[in-house]
Amino acid sequence: MLAGAASLTAAAPEPFRWGGDAEGGAPFVEADPRHPSVVRGMDVEIAELVAASLGKSARFVQVAFTSIDASVERGDFLLGLSGVEDLPARRAAHAVTVPYFEFREVLTVRSADRGRFRALSDLRGRRIGTLSGTLAYDILAAGRSAQGFELVSYDDDVHPYGDLAEGRLDGVLLDHIIAQRALRHVAGLTMQPEAAATGRYVGVLAKRDTALRDRIDAVLKGAMRDGTLESIFRRWNVWDDAQPKLFSRVLGEAAPAAPAPAPARPPASAAARVLAYLPALLRAALITLLLSCLAMALAVSAGVVLASGRIYGGRVVRTIFTLYVEVVRGTPVLLQLFVLYYGLSSVVRLPAFIAALLGLGLNYAAYESEIYRGALEAVSRPQLEAARTLGLSEWLILRLVRGPQAFRLALAPMTNDFVALLKDSSLVSVITVVELTKQTSIFAANVGSWVLPGALCAALYLLLSLPLSRLARFLERRWSAPS
């Protein structure tokens, strides 16, 4: 029996692991509506084609779109396929297949603006959204200072269109496939016919896997020749005139070298790259600092109100405040940010920074209130009674006796929370605020490595949090041991 099981295991071919992001949806990779645990899409079919040609079965690995490169390099899977673009930085850092699909970068605007926002140059002073780590992002980043528009980066390609329809953005620049799909779901949008650029989808592999890459290139070229790719693309309604031209360009080339026309930028030295990114990182660090300070101020004020309400308030106030604290502490801050920014957008359209400030501040308020409540209750009862016998009102007792002492007790845990908040502020990138971590991941995607950007980012966070800890220690010393 055991031997049988062992031989079965040995006989089963090792699966071909490939990675993609099912959040990207059709036509790339999407969860099958009938079997949500199964994925389907044009990239899924290409992966299955590759696996079959290698004599293996395909196994899908879910990975966030922006992490595909890093994930393939660390060996989570062999091939990344999910509308992965052919970018110079990607070519420099990873092994990349021949391109298998050509897309156009198109500008989508609200139908009402169709006449006045025809191209990026018409959007001076306006906000244009896109998915970070893409060709569209690079185009916008390169053009924003010359053309004077504001770049808003997203972690997904669905929310930019929703925000466009709601007026948070004035344009979205993305692949025409993504734009076409969005137009089917979001009303009132128009795709401008003029393409801002063209790009190509490729498969990405770890830099060391060039041999496998060459085998996959052969599979892809075969599929271009025998019409397999065409039938896949037709099935997913993305076949157009550009594809046969791309195929003949790819097949006409002798070597599987980069067919991308993108002129390879001169490889910048590490120092030059850091210098180039430093201003953006410092600006992002400033946003992180500003957001954290304002959110903490909100958390402290709201926390004081919650704590006082729970101690001094009537039954109704106590119940409501307790409920608030439990709900906020019991649900992820990420979810709260999503609800505030996207969920409530039909009722109140908060700007991203305000939503981030409210989300973090109101979330931390729940934690602060528990610290204050504990600290207020730690002030000895006889002191409060003594204050009453001296004729001080409840309010004066809170202000002059209980509050000041509780504040000292709360200072250390508060500082702790402030440092935690500083780091949690990185979560707000999900609602398009580009703070330090987000800027770093954009930087990392661009240079194709996390080493230098990661180290810089860590150094900046430390630079922000260490003074805080020092300040807290100073305040504690000053207030707890009066001279």
């Binding site: 002191q383 003594a386 204050a387 004729g391 409840e394 000292r408």
Partner: protein, 247 residues
């Protein structure tokens, strides 16, 4: 109200759950008098003090403090107790000084914020009080830096900051060594000479005999025995007093 009486407790009844903590207590403190309130632990001494400064509601009887009347039922809101606060000061057993304020600030806080005195006036009076109680040199010390005896004097100064005629003290001798008890006794004498009335709970019969004018002994929530200190404590009649003297 009897002429010259600062505190008059009449038929005071206080029930908590099934327990009758006070069951018809009558008690009077006159101007210039030190009255020692004695009794074994749990006899209700502290409860009488707390009821007299409206920290504790009571169920029957009445309390009058220099003309300010407290009746049974819930403790009135602080806004209606302003006059009481000017008439009665309380010194708690563990002093209960405000830990974050200096000795001087402890004495001036209520005068300035609750009774509308000017800061300079309050500080002058606070310093004078601390001086008169022998802790003037400790004016800028924080409670944690004070010895037990010093903290107690600061607490007395705090209670006297708005010059109440009646001073209630809960077990002031409990944490003092014999020498300091003597000097506390002298301080209390001085306060009584100034025309104040003092109601002092204590376990210390020797202290009561030496410094109190009158003694009230409580047992099972009632007054067991009362009279001039020397008389009651030298020639006790009630078993409770005898037990107290043996303790």
């Amino acid at each position: 109200m009897t002429a010259g009486s600062l505190l008059e407790v009449r038929a005071l009844r206080l029930v908590r759950g099934q327990r009758r903590i006070l069951d018809g207590v009558d008690l009077t403190v006159h101007r210039g008098d030190i009255c020692a309130l004695m009794g074994l632990s749990g006899s209700g001494k502290t409860t009488i003090l707390r009821a007299a400064v409206a920290l504790e509601a009571f169920d029957g009887g009445a309390i009058a403090i220099d003309g300010f009347e407290l009746g049974p039922g819930p403790v009135p809101p602080e806004s209606r107790l302003k006059d009481l606060r000017r008439r009665a000061g309380m010194v708690f057993q563990q002093h209960a000084l405000f830990e974050h304020l200096t000795a001087l600030d402890n004495t001036t806080l209520a005068a300035v914020y609750a009774h509308g005195r000017g800061v300079t006036e309050a500080r002058t009076r606070g310093l004078a009080l601390l001086e008169s109680l022998g802790v003037g040199a400790r004016a800028s010390a924080y409670p944690r830096e004070l010895s037990g005896g010093e903290a107690q004097r600061v607490a007395i100064a705090r209670a006297l900051a708005v010059d109440p005629p009646l001073l209630l003290m809960d077990e002031p001798t409990a944490s003092l060594d014999p020498a300091r008890r003597g000097s506390l006794g002298e301080v209390l004498r001085g306060l009584a000479r100034d025309g104040r009335g003092l109601l002092v709970t204590t376990h210390d019969a020797e202290f009561a005999r030496t410094y109190a004018d009158r003694v009230v002994v409580l047992a099972a929530g009632q007054v067991a025995e009362e009279g001039p200190a020397a008389e009651v404590l030298t020639n006790p009649q009630h078993p409770a007093t005898k037990a107290l003297l043996r303790a």
